[in-house]
């Protein structure tokens, strides 16, 4: 029982990271109808910026954190202008191929600049964690969970109660109508890319101290986050969060009870099961194309 509680805690912590990246996926998908296959690389790039600032340059942790997030805002902007914007009038296929190209470019660009050696990033807190009854609460996991909760609340407030959030929603629901109402659609999409890149970056910064910072971390996280969006229901914000948490828990228990080397395979297995038996996910509903 103690082990179960411990695994549950770990699973929720890892799941929260997937949920953040999945949220970035969903926001871009809703705004542009395109799946951004470079979403995971946002996490990886942010983690490397953090390593450069906090470890190599020995800047204060909080400052490095801010620099990394600001850097991600720039990456999101450049990504929007360089990858999405020129292709916005084409069908989804060229756009996803371009985002795959961007993902390869980012991963290998970082590899070329920084080399293949995985890096270690310390956690935010000096204290490793606290013992609560039978469960050991690692401080980094606690931080991840807390940040995710705050972000989910912020996200809700932002989209439901601010003018900018409502404009973003209007853009994702009907671009033509939004532009007729005087909303600048391309600005809204740009904001979405920036916000998603920062979210992805934040997930990367939070998870980096738990893993090695490596070139592969982006694609692994993206794969899990995508599976999370399908489990939750494609394009659904609540679905992405629930899906991410569910996947984190499944994976942690799978690794503990079934197999460690194939830990990354469970996401795929769950993904396929959902695709076959419930492709619309837990919350989502597929909308048929209108003839």
């Amino acid at each position: 029982m103690d082990l179960v509680l411990q695994l549950l805690f770990t699973g929720i912590g890892i799941g929260a990271v997937y949920a953040l990246v999945a949220l970035g996926f969903v926001l871009i998908f809703r705004a542009t109808n395109v799946v951004n296959f470079a979403q995971g690389e946002f996490s990886m790039v942010a983690a490397y910026i953090m390593v450069v600032c906090a470890v190599d340059l020995a800047l204060p942790y909080w400052l490095s954190f801010i620099i990394a997030l600001a850097g991600m805002a720039v990456v999101g902007l450049v990504f929007n202008l360089g990858v999405y914007y020129p292709l916005r009038h084409r069908t989804y296929l060229p756009v996803i191929i371009a985002t795959i190209g961007a993902s390869i470019l980012m991963a290998n660009g970082v590899l070329a600049l920084y080399g293949p050696q995985p890096q270690v990033l310390p956690g935010w807190f000096e204290t490793p964690g606290i013992q609560l009854g039978p469960v050991y609460l690692d401080s980094q996991y606690l931080l991840i969970i807390a940040v995710t909760v705050v972000l989910v609340i912020f996200n809700y407030w932002f989209f439901e109660h601010t003018m900018l959030g409502k404009k973003l929603q209007a853009t994702s629901q009907d671009k033509e109508m939004a532009s007729l109402l005087g909303i600048s659609v391309s600005t809204m999409i740009m904001i979405t890319f920036i916000y998603s890149a920062v979210l992805g970056g934040l997930a990367g910064l939070l998870v980096a101290p738990l893993l090695f910072v490596s070139i592969q971390m982006g694609s692994t996280i993206a794969l899990k986050a995508f599976a999370a969006t399908i489990i939750g229901g494609f394009g659904d914000v609540a679905g992405a969060i629930i899906g991410g948490l569910a996947l984190g828990i499944i994976e942690t228990f799978g690794a503990a009870y079934i197999s460690v080397p194939y830990k990354d395979g469970f996401a795929f297995l769950v993904l396929v099961l959902f695709l076959v038996f419930r492709p619309q996910g837990i919350f989502g509903e597929r909308v048929a194309e209108k003839a």
Partner: protein, 592 residues
């Protein structure tokens, strides 16, 4: 129509020479290449490059089928390549099996894996396929590295055997080139076959493909499976050629390399695939110094993908052919003396279409509610109603694009209520769309040929190429566009595109023709032409169910009218009586 009169009409198209004879130059060139590969003296380095290019090109041909022809993405081609390579590698070493059995087994494994992956994912949108193929690729890599008992893990497999017939590297290369030539021929010829046309139709417009009798899902799965098999075949040959394989040769990065090769050369054609493969094997060899910085070389690949997609979406070969197409004048289609014959099947009774209690609910919204429609054989029946009354929804349920919530649909005596669109088309249903849905990368003729290819079309004999072309030309001539048959869809005006869509439906010789607002967006002279065309169609005994807002057209063309409002039938009967019906008048004009 005056241009048709100037060309001497021919009664029938001349039979073309047998295919193998027309393509003889290709085979002679291929034989010469095989001979060169077998006889020239290469040093080991050149031999390796040629071996790699040949085997990779076969895998890239697979992408040209699935991505280029069918528009479906496959990001796991390296995994399928690995299936073939490991089957040959492990089979000829650990299990001491015959090379041919291993190669065949590898192809079958790739086929099965591809089909299973396709069957589970291809009903969903393209994003799912992209992510699922990436996941599959990752899993295969995980297994190759971790299942040491099976795959020998990261050390890889060495001392892989070759067939006894081709033990020397040079003769094995010649064998690979021969395989490449045969596969290349098939991929090159594929677009002109029934399957290839179906793939292109699915790529251009899935909905239109379905209502033209194409089984969209099966076509996609077939394309995906072909791609996987070619991946496996290329991999099997690769393993024999290099005698050593390891997991990193079949990683996701390699899948991206295959994708880049395909995009760079031009995804739509095997010639493009060959060019892309050749370039992306040679260029890194020239730029070897790039490989000294890990990642740099793949980073450049990633950047190239973005740039190619943006600036050269059809690749090098697409660029060349587009330039060639601009200077080459399109041949006008031969005028054809055969008139279009519509011989609608008549197996049922007096009614061609009997709809009873049809409902379609979207959540709480009753878009169509308990509607009955009976369409008499040989007549023109109109379905009218104000905007949002459920007309197009009804048509979409009738053609199978939406599943009916309740009710029954009998087409010529056959219950089609639960059939998917392509089976309804096979059963004799034809339709056009309110927002025109043509296959936009094809010519008018090719569009109409796909219509003529409807399963169960009795007017095209055994369905050979000449009969299909004759039928399609006759249909295009019937709507007045015969001489422009060889032009691309994009060069036609909106009104003419509508006519092509009608011709596509007519070529299929349907039992019932559904026209969804054919007059929408037409000017007054085009409307007159449309009216005249409807008369000529009806004169041949084809039953028409038409939706339109143009009351002049509807009242003049239709003998029978059904009126919908808020998803319910509010009137039904002989035209003039229905149009004077007080409920209909109030639905259109409002009440005091």
């Amino acid at each position: 129509m005056s241009s048709t009169d100037q060309i001497q009409p021919v009664a029938a198209l001349p039979r073309p020479k047998p295919l193998l004879l027309r393509h003889a130059p290709y085979f002679i060139a291929a034989a010469a290449l095989v001979f060169l590969a077998a006889s020239m003296r290469f040093d080991g380095y050149i031999l390796n490059i040629l071996m790699q290019a040949t085997t990779f090109a076969i895998a890239v041909f697979g992408l040209s089928v699935v991505l280029g022809l069918c528009g479906q993405i496959n990001l796991a081609q390296a995994a399928f390549f690995g299936f073939g390579a490991y089957a040959v590698g492990l089979g000829t070493t650990d299990y001491q099996l015959n090379y041919w059995i291993c190669l065949f087994g590898g192809c079958i494994m790739a086929l099965v894996a591809g089909a299973v992956l396709g069957l589970s994912t291809l009903r969903l949108g393209g994003h799912y396929l992209a992510m699922v193929t990436i996941s599959f690729q990752q899993i295969v890599t995980l297994v190759m590295i971790n299942a040491i008992w099976l795959t020998k893990g990261p050390d890889g497999v060495s001392r892989i055997g070759r067939p006894s017939l081709f033990t020397s590297s040079q003769s094995y290369l010649a064998f690979c080139v021969a395989v490449l030539a045969i596969v290349g021929y098939m991929v090159w010829h594929l677009p002109d076959t029934r399957l290839g046309r179906a793939m292109r139709a699915v790529r251009d417009n899935e909905l239109a493909a379905g209502v033209n009798g194409i089984d969209v899902f099966r076509t996609k799965v077939t394309a995906f499976a072909i791609s996987a098999v070619l991946g496996g075949l290329g991999g099997g040959l690769f393993a024999g050629g290099f005698a050593y394989i390891s997991p990193d040769q079949f990683s996701f990065a390699e899948s991206i390399v295959f994708l880049t090769m395909s995009l760079l050369g031009g995804v739509a054609s095997p010639i493009g695939s060959a060019i892309g493969t050749g370039l992306l094997i040679l260029i890194p060899e020239w730029l070897r110094f790039l490989k000294s910085v890990p990642g740099l070389y793949l980073a450049i690949y990633g950047l190239s993908v973005i740039l190619i997609i943006r600036f050269m979406p059809d690749g090098i070969w697409g660029f060349v052919t587009a330039a060639y197409d601009r200077i080459r004048a399109r041949k006008p289609a031969p005028a054809i003396g055969i008139p279009l014959v519509l011989k609608p099947a008549a197996t049922g009774g007096d009614m061609v279409l009997e709809v009873t209690g049809l409902s379609k609910h979207f959540g709480g919204l009753k878009a169509v509610d308990q509607v009955d429609i009976a369409v008499h054989r040989g007549g023109v029946h109109a379905l009218i109603g104000p905007n949002g009354s459920g007309k197009t929804t009804t048509l979409n349920v009738l053609s199978g694009l939406y599943e009916a919530t309740a009710g029954k649909v009998l087409l010529d005596g056959t219950d089609v209520t639960t059939m998917p669109p392509h089976l309804r088309t096979a059963a004799g249903l034809g339709r056009t769309f309110q927002n025109i849905r043509l296959f936009r990368s094809m010519t008018a003729l090719e569009n109409v040929v796909i219509g003529a290819e409807r399963p169960g079309n009795t007017m095209v004999g055994r369905g050979d190429a000449t009969a299909l072309t004759e039928r399609a030309l006759a249909a295009l001539t019937f709507v007045g566009l015969g001489p422009r048959a060889n032009e691309l869809i994009t060069s036609f005006s909106y009104g003419h595109q509508r006519l092509i869509e009608i011709a596509r439906a007519l070529a299929a010789n349907p039992t019932l023709l559904l026209l969804d607002e054919p007059a929408a967006g037409l000017n007054s002279s085009e409307k007159l032409e449309l009216h005249e065309l409807l008369k000529r169609i009806a004169a041949q005994g084809l039953t028409i169910l038409i939706i339109d807002h143009d009351m002049t057209l509807v009242s003049e063309a239709a003998q029978h009218i059904t009126v919908l409002n808020f998803g319910r039938r509010i009137a039904d009967g002989e035209s003039m009586a229905v149009l004077r019906h007080p409920d209909v008048v109030s639905a259109y004009l409002g009440t005091d």
